[in-house]
Symmetry: D2
Subunit: 365 residues, 4 copies
Amino acid sequence: MPGNTFGHSFRITTWGESHGKALGVVVDGVPAGLPLEPQMIQKELDRRRPGQSQVSTPRSEADSVEILSGIFEGKTTGTPISMMVWNKDARSSSYDNIKDLARPGHADYPYMKKYGIRDYRGGGRSSARETIGRVAAGAIAKEILARFGIEIVAHVIALGTVSARPMPLDAIRENLEKTPVRCADLEAAEKMLKEVEAAREEHDSIGGVVEIIATGVPAGIGEPVFDKLDADIAKAMMSIGAVKAVEIGAGYEASRMKGSQMNDPFVMEDAMVATRTNNAGGILGGLSTGMPIICRTTVKPTPSISQPQQTVDMKEMKETEINIKGRHDPTIPPRMVPVAEAMMALVIVDHMIRSGHIHPDSLLK
Amino acid sequence: MPGNTFGHSFRITTWGESHGKALGVVVDGVPAGLPLEPQMIQKELDRRRPGQSQVSTPRSEADSVEILSGIFEGKTTGTPISMMVWNKDARSSSYDNIKDLARPGHADYPYMKKYGIRDYRGGGRSSARETIGRVAAGAIAKEILARFGIEIVAHVIALGTVSARPMPLDAIRENLEKTPVRCADLEAAEKMLKEVEAAREEHDSIGGVVEIIATGVPAGIGEPVFDKLDADIAKAMMSIGAVKAVEIGAGYEASRMKGSQMNDPFVMEDAMVATRTNNAGGILGGLSTGMPIICRTTVKPTPSISQPQQTVDMKEMKETEINIKGRHDPTIPPRMVPVAEAMMALVIVDHMIRSGHIHPDSLLK
Amino acid sequence: MPGNTFGHSFRITTWGESHGKALGVVVDGVPAGLPLEPQMIQKELDRRRPGQSQVSTPRSEADSVEILSGIFEGKTTGTPISMMVWNKDARSSSYDNIKDLARPGHADYPYMKKYGIRDYRGGGRSSARETIGRVAAGAIAKEILARFGIEIVAHVIALGTVSARPMPLDAIRENLEKTPVRCADLEAAEKMLKEVEAAREEHDSIGGVVEIIATGVPAGIGEPVFDKLDADIAKAMMSIGAVKAVEIGAGYEASRMKGSQMNDPFVMEDAMVATRTNNAGGILGGLSTGMPIICRTTVKPTPSISQPQQTVDMKEMKETEINIKGRHDPTIPPRMVPVAEAMMALVIVDHMIRSGHIHPDSLLK
Amino acid sequence: MPGNTFGHSFRITTWGESHGKALGVVVDGVPAGLPLEPQMIQKELDRRRPGQSQVSTPRSEADSVEILSGIFEGKTTGTPISMMVWNKDARSSSYDNIKDLARPGHADYPYMKKYGIRDYRGGGRSSARETIGRVAAGAIAKEILARFGIEIVAHVIALGTVSARPMPLDAIRENLEKTPVRCADLEAAEKMLKEVEAAREEHDSIGGVVEIIATGVPAGIGEPVFDKLDADIAKAMMSIGAVKAVEIGAGYEASRMKGSQMNDPFVMEDAMVATRTNNAGGILGGLSTGMPIICRTTVKPTPSISQPQQTVDMKEMKETEINIKGRHDPTIPPRMVPVAEAMMALVIVDHMIRSGHIHPDSLLK
């Protein structure tokens, strides 16, 4: 059973390779009656596209979206929405000389073992360009969620050795797009930019942490005992290339807390049940509590670096050295922000439909 | 779409509540021809059963497994295997006085919001007793994997404020069951035991970290781009109650590493491709690399603690205080070890079948 | 990927073999708040149990159901409902002498090819006893549907060479259980009984046709373009052993009709859209029209007959003769009536939830 | 949960509307290493395209396929294959005056009830143009199956009142494409053509029967007890618009046969197990027997006819008359032949992978 489909009630299937003709996504399960313009998709794709700033790869792609189906007179009809982007600035020749070499930190070797053949140009299917389909589909999910008062915001909270101070949600919203590193703590952002620059000069790369926050999610979504909301979020995030850890709420810190500290006391707030703290990150027993959902993902440093590395020639089956040319991002988290938002939106809209909060057929009902 | 089923090619469905008549699991997709005796299941259930040591709840259950189908003349037949355990020591009355109160850190409140009704006795379906089905199914998965040279071992590497030193796999195997905390570093285990004891005396609880290692997994299993091996592991682990974070390989540390440090150099070893380090934790691009798969999960402190806590009465919709009596584990990680092993085994056997490494119908082929 | 699960939003997994310890089903996706007593399940099982009349096998089983989970204080809780029946009158020895012979018309040979091993006693998993789980689950589905004004009735419309006259729904309801052949045309029923008796005396068996009618289904359920309502009904019915054809509405006759005859004119009835005729059988484009859903299934004659038959010895790989002893139904349709009703109920309740007509979590909402 | 995806191990998702920009399909689960040229797809699309003969609609579409992903250096890579066809001759204006009228025999009314909005041009998503994606995907499935010695042939065996004589497989292969009605009995074909012509002159339409034969399928594919091979074939066929009945083997005739007639005696043939007759249609207990798989589908007459029909205005909610202009096929079965072959191929390749007969990852292994 192949794995290019995500979601159950709101289901996306992505396709396409880094240097193929095009990349795209089919989104099935979008309820009818949602006004949808290409611009709503494009604005999210613009946030992830290459060449957008000095912290991203210089590959120049407009990544202009075409919507091919599922819309009639400006509204969704409940039928599948097919969206695609043509590849334009695909310089494949730079990959010819490394086609048999396993790039360290990349999927070349296991792909070869699995399929016996691979499109080596730019990583083929394992390229981060695959996330175009996720972001396009996520843009639709966000539009739907917005109608139900749900907002999703991601931001960079650590890059290299720099950590941001905790910021209130308003400041995150306001500062998010002010700097190319997408860190709401502008002082930290300044330092992060320097660290990115230093890494680039050293022909190296750095990692970081992206935090995703979802507000307005009603209590009770998620499906015990396996399709728990946090389980599906963990899968969604870990399915993004380069993510090596996922935390919910107190996350990693929970291991050193006592029950009396970790437990969030229940309180009444405006005649509604809430919790005083939110160590749970908005999820208990796999179900949303009504509090903000908080997730953090650790992103490894970009594996493509412009320095010689030890590796093997998969054809000759012998050790050798590799020098990757190509065009790389010196760090991934800033461009991963819209991807992480998309994945969170996809999980939440899927579960909102699954648990009856959003009508599966039509928003007009 | 409900969520009590896990896996695709090797698929389990668990059922049952903490204080219901019984709990069980149906395992579909077990290839024919596997010799299977109840004792193979029972030995794993014994590792998770309550009352096994001073660090676990005193609830006394033999959790004796019955296999009801799918076996003929001592071998699996390819048909579903139904297994169950009767509940015996279910003292439901202790829950009567808190039936309308939302226990902090527990799923009571969101369950009530979702279903409008709940079996409040011992957490009902959201009880850790649900993992009986997982462990029973995982025991079958482990038996199958063992025939393909795959071994899965989990152990506690942190409990409360105590962290274990890194240990070689041999020592982990040898020491794992020597102490009730299931920590291979016996010195650390000693300290952990004391910390558990202290927590119990303070009517409090502590968290910890469980590491799961899978060796012998061939390169190339996992399904791009959503059903990646690490994505499915993350989901599997996060679906276990009390888990708040999942890391693969370098995990959380990857955020502070440089690409040149994080990338594992490929080398030839015994005419096979390997990596010199294993920061990837055995997974690149969502596919296994052939190196050991390393996963760490952070477990929160047991939410049931015997001290007064602030909460709300869900019926009266007003704030109040709760005193949980019942019988609780002072810490979860030691008993979570067999559950985490089971979930890892389930993910790997599922992917081994999905990618053609294990025949879906029969081991006799 | 194994195949013992049916449905998406209302999902059943059956398990068990003809001569194993027990048979059962886990039903996942039952909304919370449904009052459910064992008697509601038992009454349907009693309609399918062996030994109920002269037209059924003399194997004597009470098939007494136990509900093991998912119910609290007489109501469903939204968690999986596990139900089982113990096998009691299992006389396995009669199968010893034919364990290597492929019974004609039975699944012995392909099971052996698929799994390399099989429980040969009474057909093992391929026995009609497997439908116990379907009927138990279907009983819950029917209870839910009844609350939404949906009724499902099946009846025998042909047995051997006897065909029943068309009968109005009221007469079908009234006469259905009056004779052991479950034919509403009592005159035809008389003749059918004779034909069954004749077949038994000749050590032979006869086939027939079961019609299933669902009334009260609202317009618009079904999921284009693959999970159409008629597609899922066809699968559900064809998954019942012995069914060789499935028709919807005019069915087989449609091939000889003209468009002007086949098309059902739309009319207004009580301010609602209806059709004057119902050649569509209540389904257009895979979606319900609001008219009664009409399905007919052709059932082959029981393959187990007490006369010598030509076959092969699968172990020796040579031709031989087989004499099946055991205890057989001389004809299947009468006992298939509750099974067909169950499958129709399962498909409809699944699609009612999928399309938002029934709340997935709770009937209390 | 939406329904535009079919299959598990070989999974297709179709998208697009009759008068939208384009239609297409994403095929996930194609093993790596299959040589694939657009011409292999195009030749099947040419068999289903409109305007190909006097028995099909005059809408003129080249339906020229573009393959956008999943191929590298002429071979499949194991990644999703995205294929599309642009709509060119879409004359939407002819539908403006009937946009609120429910065309009898069409899905307009239930679509409106389900979604509250619909693309009324040419049936939108419920148009037969949707089958372009099925045929394109089926072409890949057929290529794979051919490598395993499996051949799939469909042909028209009845059209209107004309039935073809039974023909041997060789004659079917040879004569299939000799006449536009795709009937292998050329005498019957002659009469069928006249009946089509007469129907067109009467502004009416006729139905028919398509038989699909699959040879070379090994014994033992199919998944008990719900995903039986015949159950999945029934679903696949019934999911094609206009199909009202599906039969396997003796099918409808089985109801009047005795067990002693229906049962196919097992024999040894060339040291292999076979059956002397094939009333089972190649399937027992939901598993293939190794004999040819035989399926027949009844196709209703085209619902679009150029004569006034009684209907309702869905906006005004009152009765009225409809006159459908557009361009219609006078009969569907001839153009359904490649669609039925595609669906059979999709089911079989899916089950071949599921049961381990075809490697899920790669044909190179």
